[in-house]
Amino acid sequence: MIELYQIAAALYLAAGIGSLLGLLLPSPKMSRGGAWGLAVAAVVHSAAFASLHTMNPPPPLTDLVLVLSLAAWMSVLALLALMWWLRLPGLAAAVGPFAFLSVFVTALQLPDAGPARAGATGILPHAHVILGAGSLALLGLAGVAGGFFLLEHRRLKSKRSLRIAWSLPSLEALDNVNAVSLSVGFVLLSLGMLTGMAWREKVMGAFWAGGSHELWMVVVWLLYAGLVSLRFLGEQGARQSAASAVAGFAFLLFAVVGVGMWA
């Protein structure tokens, strides 16, 4: 089981390096190889998830390490799906290393099999974790697309050579990724929060306990609600939306990972 995580981590790393070289050299073959490497790594990663169910009982899905690993897997799947639709060379260079880090940490700290936390079984906790990880994945993808948009915007404004132009996605493609990821990610985030509240109500008899995770996630939700409104009401241009997506994801990472580790 650990071996599958290690193999997936190695494949993600190789895919990330391949994509990065494809971007810098620039080499279309390398870029394509990076994308294929990401797909293979995602398959191995799926097998690693499946293997968790061979443990008796399986490790708790609510563990932060597993949540991040799940989010990385979902972000890779989302990127591969978007790559069918849009020309997105280069994005694998950012998603690959992120997936590698998550899976590498999982391989190092795979939680032991043991009884799940009280009330952490059933549909609601699973739905909460899957929806939460999905929102992290998609809002992360929106942040990555936003980062690439800002780089490409700056490059086009500075009138530099077209040498690596072909290896980067167009601004329109990046903006589309941003819009789709942001809207779907926000819906998942909202559903994740609702299922989390329902789960809490079922276990503790109250929707709201005022814990740090809940508090920070409400702040995150409000922030993204504002960003989505600005984005889709046409008050923000593509560049401002990209910058917002980067800032929003940085805040989300802090709220989930930073606060999660601190708590």
């Binding site: 404004k157 050579s161 132009a165 601004l171």
Partner: protein, 424 residues
Amino acid sequence: MRLLLVGMNHESASVEVREQFAVDDPALILDKLVASEEVGEAVVVSTCNRVELCVTTPHVESAQHRLLNFFAGEEASTYVHVGRDAATHVLRVASSIDSMVVGEPQILGQMKDAYRAAVEQGACGPVLSRLFQRAFSTAKRVKNETGIAQKPVSVARVAVDLARQTFERFDDKTALLIGAGEMIELALVALQREGLEQVRIANRTVANADALAARFGATSHGLDELPDLLADADVVLTSTGGDRPLINAADVEQALGRRRRRPLFFIDIGVPRNVDPAVDELDNIFLYDVDDLQMVSNRNAEKRKNEARRAEGIVQEEEQRFDGWLVALEAVPTIRHLREGAEDMRRSEFERAISRLSGEPSDEERRILEHMTKSIVNKLLHAPVARLRAETDREEGMAMREAARALFGLDDLDTNDDKGEVDE
């Protein structure tokens, strides 16, 4: 008579400088130039990348001073080519070696237009005619004998590549073409090949817009509709005349609000520029003028370096041929004086011989004698004249003319007193 060229191009001066000296109608300048004592013939080349005055002159220094006056205030951004350097430069420009995008084909047409304008204005004489004809044939050779024009990365191509970095697809985009011109139309054709369907054409003269619109399957508009057109357009291609920018930052800011801040991509190859440079400061706006296009197409120049070297060889060869012709042309006054001297001598010897005859010769006898003396003179002069006329190198030609003057006693000959009288 020497060649002199003073000008500025995309390498010596920025578009901000070049646009101050762009020539819309060369007729006035041509008239002024050829009316001056310093200038014999003149051609004015004014494109988005260069403004050049090419003249023949007997007095290089004063002519240079006059031509530099045209670029008053920006003399530091000019270059001056004299004699063979000027000829080489004209050949290089026509062959697109000196172009912003090396190998681009539009410059040849622009040179032909400049030459035609000079001919129509009566400013182009035998020397510049010969030089420009030679330039056109050199360009043809360079195109046929080197790979410089194969798969040309034209301004149009660079523009499309840049647009592709902004937009993922073109079938749902709208292009707005303001003005007209070969380069801008090629860019539009290239965008249509990428799938662009919606095209709007705006022009000061709506009839001109109608004609272009019919060619491109577009709709035609007057410039008064620009605010609405900008709000709908995704790609704006501009190349029109005028002293002031046609589109300023406030226009674009207003259009951005109406288009919900969707990106807007400008290619402005007008000189003077049609779009205020301040527009580029706005978010989601990408404005490329001719100098910006040069910057992004540098890679093209690198790739074409080898072909350009071969093209330079052809230019040198053709320049030598032109110079040989010019040397031969410079011998024309010598030849004329030689013939005039010989004719004077023949005529006086003929009359003296007639006066010594015992009786008056008949008309028939007189005609025969005259024919005989003319034949002798022509046969004696044939070899030296042919040698003087031969297209040879400059030093040999000068040596030949000096020898002819010394041998035939033509030392007082002034080769510069025949301005405008020589025949090609």
